[in-house]
């Protein structure tokens, strides 16, 4: 199998073609691209090479076996009833040849498997590399949303966000994973394979993306009623943009300027919102729902379920159970005016 | 070639003179018993493995604030179990001799010796000095002892039933073979208790 490397060469070219083909199907909406075959970082790129290599070899084997079976069944087939046909007696020399053939085939199988194994180990080692110092992000899984902590040596600079993950391109970011309730699984198909968030365990992986853009992560371990609607847009910035974004995001929520937003803030604090949601710098410390300090700037609401528009926000506040049945958010009966003010306020939370 | 029709047969001999009741590994029942022993022994082994897996989650064993298990009653029961092997063995011998009188006698003695064991087992559970719902240590210890207790109760019931039958009804001769298998199962029951006893009651003192 000296053709190994060349297989990979073919694979790389093939992958681009096929992947783009499939991408044509997978429209990247506001949800962002979500595709293993469209790598956005070195780790997934090497996994792709491994995949295409194994796929090509496997396809050859499959075709060979099926053709052999078909040939055997068609070429010497008969239409007679059994008892008219004597039981075939295989002469010794043919039997010896058959032994040779099967031994050869088994040998080939072993060789191919060993090559797969070696290749897999090399890829595994590449993935296992641990960069020296990096930015650290804590990701906490909840039924059914994501809590994100941007860690900083200076604890006062800790930034809490939810349902959106921002990382810089070109440098590995350590993501520490833990769960508040049941097992979830963090998976950004374009960037890296999944890692489970298991209660009682903390694990971590390194996000190493080099293509700025919006990618789509989704919970990959069945976690109950709304497992299907527990997504997490991952935004890969250029280094500069990321620093700017982080600095801006660290500042507490600005005081609303216009009157309606001020009204909305009152409703937010006096009403049911603040008992479940927190907003940094405001008298709202709820822990059941996502932190809303940056809700205004998020691309989606309800954990990647809806584009973040005025209409969707209003619909979600009034009747979340028809959008995400079983989610912890109760329906809220609000007068039209109050609702408008509340949304005005939420939109100021950039 | 033509296949043989069911009514065209040629005899290569007759099995008329073969025995119809056999003992030990010749009899089907012995193999069945062996099969269930394998299942039960393996299940206990798995539970023991889980016990040790749970052990890794604790710094001390038993966990702090949990007292060590008391060993008095377990040790008494252990001695009783080992002793009860003797009448079981004698019942087995008697059965192979087809000596009904001896079988009845030794079965009765086995019953009398084995009946207290499940009762003591109840106090044995409490000698763990921890409840099943206190923590994972309690759960593991209770499951290990409790699952053996379940098998034990079934086997004691088996012995009791056999004894009752032998004393109060005319038993077919093949019951002799069952008697010997019953003893066989009792040896196993005692044998698998030894490791459980060591792990659950002695273990915490050692590690």
């Amino acid at each position: 199998m000296a053709r190994g490397p060349r297989c990979v060469e073919h694979a790389r070219r093939a992958s681009r073609r096929v992947a783009s083909g499939i991408l044509a199907v997978a429209v990247a909406g506001c949800a962002g691209s979500q595709n293993v075959l469209d790598p956005a970082g070195p780790p997934n790129r090497s996994v792709n090479h491994l995949f295409w290599a194994m796929l090509i070899v496997s396809s050859i084997i499959w075709v060979a076996v099926v053709v052999a079976a078909l040939w055997a069944l068609i070429s010497r087939r008969r239409r007679t009833r059994e008892d008219l046909e004597p039981v075939v007696i295989v002469p010794n020399e043919r039997h010896r040849r058959e032994v040779g053939i099967v031994t050869g085939l088994v040998g080939a199988t072993v060789v191919i498997l060993l090559l797969f194994l070696v290749y897999d180990f090399t890829v595994g080692r590449a993935l296992a590399e641990r960069p020296s110092r990096t930015l650290t992000i804590e990701l906490i899984g909840h039924q059914w949303w994501w809590e994100v902590h941007y860690i900083d040596p200076d604890p006062s600079k800790l930034m809490v966000d939810a349902n959106e993950l921002h990382i810089p391109a070109g440098e590995p970011v350590q993501v520490k994973l833990s769960s508040q309730d049941v097992i979830h699984s963090f998976w950004v198909p374009n960037i890296i394979g999944k890692r489970d968030l298991i209660p009682g365990y903390t694990s971590s992986l390194f996000l190493d993306a080099d293509k700025p853009g919006v990618y789509h992560a989704q919970c990959a371990e069945f976690c109950g009623l709304e497992h299907a609607k527990m997504a997490l847009p991952v935004i890969v910035h250029s280094r500069a943009d990321f620093t700017a974004w982080l600095a801006e995001a660290r500042s507490p929520a600005a005081e609303p300027s216009d009157s309606s937003a001020a009204e909305g803030k009152k409703i937010f604090l006096a009403g049911t919102c603040s008992s479940c949601h927190a907003v940094t710098g405001v008298e709202a410390y709820g822990t059941i729902g996502p932190n809303l300090t940056h809700i205004g700037s998020r691309r989606t609401i309800a954990a990647g379920t809806l584009p973040n528009t005025r209409g969707n926000l209003g619909g979600w506040i009034v009747d979340p159970q028809s959008i995400k049945p079983g989610a912890r958010m109760p329906s809220n009966q609000l007068a039209g005016k109050d609702l408008r003010n509340l949304i005005d306020y939420l939109e100021t939370l950039k | 070639m033509t296949t043989p029709s069911p009514t065209r047969q040629e005899s290569l001999g007759s099995v008329r003179d073969l025995p119809t009741v056999t003992f030990g590994h010749r009899s089907l029942m012995w193999w069945g018993t062996l099969g269930f022993m394998t299942i039960e022994g393996w299940s206990l082994a798995l539970i023991a493995a889980m016990y040790f897996y749970i052990r890794q989650n604790f710094l001390t064993w038993p966990p702090i604030t949990i007292p060590l298990p008391s060993v008095t009653i377990p040790t008494i029961n252990l001695v009783l179990m080992v002793a009860s092997v003797v009448p079981a063995w004698l019942a087995d011998r008697a059965a192979r001799r087809l000596d009904v009188g001896a079988v009845k006698l030794w079965l009765l003695i086995s019953t009398l010796m084995s009946l207290p064991i499940p009762i003591l087992r109840w106090y044995e559970l409490w000698s763990l000095n921890v409840r099943w719902d206190t923590n994972a240590y309690g759960s593991a210890a209770w499951l290990l002892v409790g699952s053996h207790a379940t098998l034990l109760i079934l086997d004691v019931a088996d012995t009791v039933g056999l004894t009752l039958f032998y004393w109060f009804k005319r038993m077919p001769i093949k019951a002799m073979s069952d008697t010997s298998d019953n003893s066989f199962y009792w040896y196993f029951m005692v044998a698998i208790w030894l490791p459980v006893y060591l792990i659950v009651y002695v273990g915490p003192y050692v590690f």
Binding site: I22, A28, V36, V47, W62, V65, A68, A69, L73, D83, E85, V87, V88, V90, R94, H95, E98, V106, V110, F116, D181, I183, K194, R195, D196, I198, P199, S203, H216, Q218, A220, F222, E226, A228 | P4, R8, Q9, L12, S14, V15, P19, T20, V21, F23, R26, L28, G32, G35, F36, T38, I39, I54, N57, F58, W132, A136, Y137, L143, G161, P172
Partner: protein, 667 residues
């Protein structure tokens, strides 16, 4: 009798005269005597009439037939659930099923297919055919066998009543804690799952012990270990796997999950020293062998079908036996590859990767042996053979994706996605269900006495092959496109819509194909062509007795001179006589070289298996609602044991007892 050895090539199994038989001078048996024996045997072995007879039967063929039919009904039920899931997923943001209902449906689908269809139907095939193939009058423990079936039946009823009570489990067939634990699954839904598993485990274990003892002790004289039919070898290996795999899940579900939920034990509570990963270890220690438990019997079906329709003795009998055994061993060393995404050491992962790749070798060996056999045979494309072709097309695909999944790097990308869903359905539908259909076509005449319709059959076979591939191949791409499994809906921006529509269309084809099969089976059972004893001119002992086999299986116990009895010996059939006809007797032979050892008195009809199963049902179902049910259940169980024992020691009879080296006549 002409020595058949002359008709055999040297490389075939050494054919010898059966050694150490009481006397080896062949006597052709008088037909009138045989017919007379047949009548007496029928009187001795047949079931009582009426409902009572129906409830008390211990005939392994009757019980196994009920087993197969019930399990096939479960296949249909599971299929309907799959259909509902495909309806829901056919287009984005569909509202046919809400999350609550969908989770119950997909959990019931998985649970049904794994626990109530796949394993039971495979063991049931064994319970029906192993005694016939080893030339035994019956199975080793017929009452245990009946008990096993009734227990399984209780489980079936239990799950499906719960489904209609909105009480079906909804945590997935893997029931991962803590989601399935007391805090996140309130109510009794998961308890239903936990106890249902126990029902099916007990049934499977009973079947396994029966198959092992029947194979070891009740083989026809001359059928030494190296002459056991490959079908039976597969069943034997699987029986051993069941014995070592099933207890794990029984413990995990009943003794740990259920007690965590009911009596607050802390097995899976991290705060009290429990461990959520422990569940995954135990579950997959059972769950991975489970896959092989399901498709090894499938591979066992293939050999006799290929041999019969290619008119050639299989190439590499020994190789196939050994690969069965190695698969059985390896299967217990792979479970961690279901847990690559969890925090476990990398070294361990690579070891399991290696093991998971290497297990492809034994399976490969079997496939090559069949290919060679077909090449030098004279194949006839019956429906069964078409389905074998379908096996090659489908199963090999599933096996190759399996090898790919063994790679940690790649597995972490597609684990828990539709790629894995595709893989496991390719393996199970290709490796187990396709051969199972082939087996149905092949052995249907033995069970019913009538042949199935070949034309309808070929349509069904091809539709099934096309349907399966159309349904499950696109799922690979969906998985790579990032579609996780077990989601009840997806947004249209994901772009998964078109392929999902295609998948649902494929599902429709499968439904059509299975419907065709049911129609064909029903029609043929009533009015198919009469088959006769051996319609395919095959070689196994099951074909040496009329179709359907009489209640006593064989007039006289056949004697085996090679691996392919009927092909090796030709006619007349060599037998041993001397089993009593006035009471149920089976011949027990020695474990290794199957020399006649003794005649065993076989149990008669009994109601106790059914009663015992009902008591067990009371125990397990009741335990969900109150712990007192356990106490009551144990008490009733002890009573049942008394009753059961009383009946089995009821009639005394003069026996020839072999003890301490002598034989005593005693009663």
């Amino acid at each position: 009798m002409t020595n058949p050895a002359r008709r055999l090539p040297p490389n075939e199994s050494a054919v010898t005269e059966p050694a150490a038989l009481p006397d080896a001078t062949p006597v052709t048996l008088n037909e009138d005597v045989l017919i007379d024996d047949a009548r007496r045997l029928e009187m001795t072995w047949r079931d009582g009439g009426g409902l009572w007879g129906w409830l008390t039967t211990v005939d392994h063929k009757v019980i196994a037939r009920r087993y197969i039919i019930t399990a096939f009904l479960m296949f249909i039920a599971g299929g309907l659930e799959a259909g509902m899931m495909r309806m829901q997923l056919a287009r984005p943001e569909n509202t046919f099923l809400g999350p609550d209902r969908y989770n119950q449906i997909f959990t019931t689908h998985g649970t049904t297919m794994m626990f109530l269809f796949a394993v039971p139907i495979m063991t049931a095939m064994g319970l029906y055919f192993v005694p016939l193939m080893v030339g035994a009058r019956s199975i080793a423990f017929p009452r245990l066998n009946a008990f096993g079936y009734y227990t399984y039946l209780m489980g079936v009823i239990f799950l499906y009543v719960s489904l209609f009570l909105n009480m079906a489990p909804d945590a997935g067939w893997t029931a991962y804690v803590p989601l399935s634990g007391p805090e996140y699954s309130p109510g009794h839904r998961v308890d239903v799952w936990a106890q249902l598993v126990t029902f099916t485990e007990i049934a499977a274990l009973a079947a396994a012990v029966n198959i092992i003892v029947t194979t070891f002790k009740m083989r026809a004289p001359g059928m030494s270990l190296n002459r056991i039919p490959l079908f039976v070898w597969a069943q034997l290996v699987v029986a051993f796997m069941i014995i070592f795999a099933m207890p794990a899940v029984a413990i995990a579900s009943t003794l740990q999950l259920a007690s965590d939920r009911a009596i607050a034990t802390h097995w899976f509570n991290p705060a009290e020293g429990g461990d959520a990963l422990l569940w995954q270890h135990i579950f997959w220690f059972f769950g991975h062998p489970e896959v092989y438990i399901i498709f090894l019997p499938g591979l066992g079906f293939i050999t006799p079908i290929v041999e019969t329709f290619c008119r050639r003795r299989v190439f590499g009998y020994t190789a196939i036996v050994l690969s069965n055994i190695t698969t059985g061993f390896f299967a217990f060393g792979l479970w961690v590859h279901h847990m690559f995404a969890t925090p476990i050491p990398e070294l361990g992962q690579s070891l399991f990767t290696a093991a998971s790749m290497m297990i492809a070798i034994p399976t490969g060996v079997q496939i090559f042996c069949w290919l060679v056999t077909m090449f030098s045979g004279r194949p006839r494309l019956t429906t069964a053979m078409v389905l074998i072709l379908g096996f090659f097309i489908t199963f090999v695909n599933g096996g190759l994706t399996g090898v790919m999944l063994a790679s940690v790097g790649f597995d972490k990308q597609v684990h828990d996605t539709f790629f894995v869903v595709a893989h496991l359905h390719y393996v199970l539908l290709g490796g187990a269900v396709t051969p199972l259909f082939a087996a149905f076509y092949f052995w249907f005449p033995k069970v019913t006495g009538r042949l199935m319709n070949e034309t309808l059959g070929k349509w069904q076979a091809w539709l099934f092959i096309i349907g399966v591939n159309l349904t499950f191949f696109p799922m690979h791409i969906l998985g790579l496109n990032g579609m996780p499994r077990r989601i009840y809906t997806y947004l249209s921006q994901t772009g998964w819509g078109p392929l999902n529509a295609l998948v649902s269309a494929g599902a429709v084809i499968i439904v059509v194909s299975v419907t065709l099969f049911i129609v064909n089976a029903a029609m043929s059972w009533r009015s198919g062509l009469l088959a006769g004893a051996n319609p395919w001119d095959s070689y196994g002992l099951e074909w040496a007795t009329p179709s359907p086999a009489p209640s006593y299986n064989f007039l006289n116990t056949p004697v085996v001179l090679g691996r392919h009895p009927l092909w090796d010996t030709g006619s007349p059939l060599p037998v041993v006589t001397g089993l009593r006809t006035d009471r149920r007797e089976v011949l027990v032979t020695t474990t290794f070289d199957a020399q006649p050892d003794h005649r065993h008195k076989h149990p008669t009809a009994s109601i106790w298996p059914l009663i015992m199963a009902l008591v067990m049902a009371e125990l397990w179902i009741g335990s969900i609602f109150t712990p007192w049910a356990v106490l009551g259940g144990v008490g009733l169980t002890l009573l049942c044991m008394l009753g059961w024992g009383w009946q089995s020691t009821a009639e005394t009879d003069v026996e020839r007892v072999a003890t301490e080296g002598r034989i005593v006549e005693a009663a």
